[in-house]
Subunit: 199 residues, 2 copies
Amino acid sequence: MVNYPNGVPYQGKEKKKERAHHKSAQEISISSANRGMDFEADINASNDYYESKGICLIKKRPTPINVVKVDYSRGAMITHAYFEAQSTTDYNGVYKGKYIDFEAKNTKNKASFPLSNITPHQINHLKQVIFHGGIAFFIVQFQTLDKVFLLDASYVINFYEHEKRKSIPFDCFEKNGIEVERSYIPRLKYIDAIDKMYF
Amino acid sequence: MVNYPNGVPYQGKEKKKERAHHKSAQEISISSANRGMDFEADINASNDYYESKGICLIKKRPTPINVVKVDYSRGAMITHAYFEAQSTTDYNGVYKGKYIDFEAKNTKNKASFPLSNITPHQINHLKQVIFHGGIAFFIVQFQTLDKVFLLDASYVINFYEHEKRKSIPFDCFEKNGIEVERSYIPRLKYIDAIDKMYF
């Protein structure tokens, strides 16, 4: 999941409704941003748990940053740099000897997952993972519905390349994906979903 | 796709000859540093080649950066940040369905590879990779000897944890490692070494 560098959250339909109830724009944008961040935090915490239990070793790739200027007189302090778009996916690692690679996305849409969230680089990357025998998928959180699904990357790639519509309907996730259950620890039991889908 | 940061080509034996002709200490340290950078550039270029030929998909992890301050009025320009130590290894990916994970190190030593180059985090990370059935190794360049070897991580971990001496002798690389050949393209044929060692 790409962190929006400027901290400005996506503002969809929910916002308009909430705004009717006298919340300040500031409050709404903070809580919306936090919920998006929470999803990433949930995955990271789940990865930490899985790692601590010796279940798998899956890590978030660091956000690539283009460093323009470093001040060595101040302990190699970076004074000028920019966030770069991740040209791959955000997570990869190893489970049961297999290479695992996935992208996590959050959407506030209720009816479908907009493909505009996915870059051509990511599609290309995931195609290569599949070609080389790795396991590739998306984990998508439908924030408003409080539902999380694992969907195989080949399904998403096929949809991306051959379907006219620019979003994957929610019921496709129900039919073709595996629902990822929440728990106290790990917060997202996505390894269970991997087991059901691939093992 | 990774761009070669400086575009400076690998400089082998010819360079050493030049250096005999009145180079200052400053120039030497810069060119030595460059050769260290060249090693990373060689691996990155080899990865690009392997990826373009559909041989494997192995990427350098971005350097983690701790962002302290971002100036949003200047297009999300990072104005205060620090490099963080990589808590894992620098490279991972997939080859023949298997998870691949390795660390690349350059040394100017002729007789041995100093283990001070390796962090406890990296040892711990590589142990976990092996535990989960991944392929884990080091690629070490003996810069002065112009030799590159692949050495299985389990050998290095064993040495790190059980041997008294704090460097791995060069002849251990010759006996237990696989020499990585150079070519014009790819610059480092390390997949051949993986084939010999693991497949």
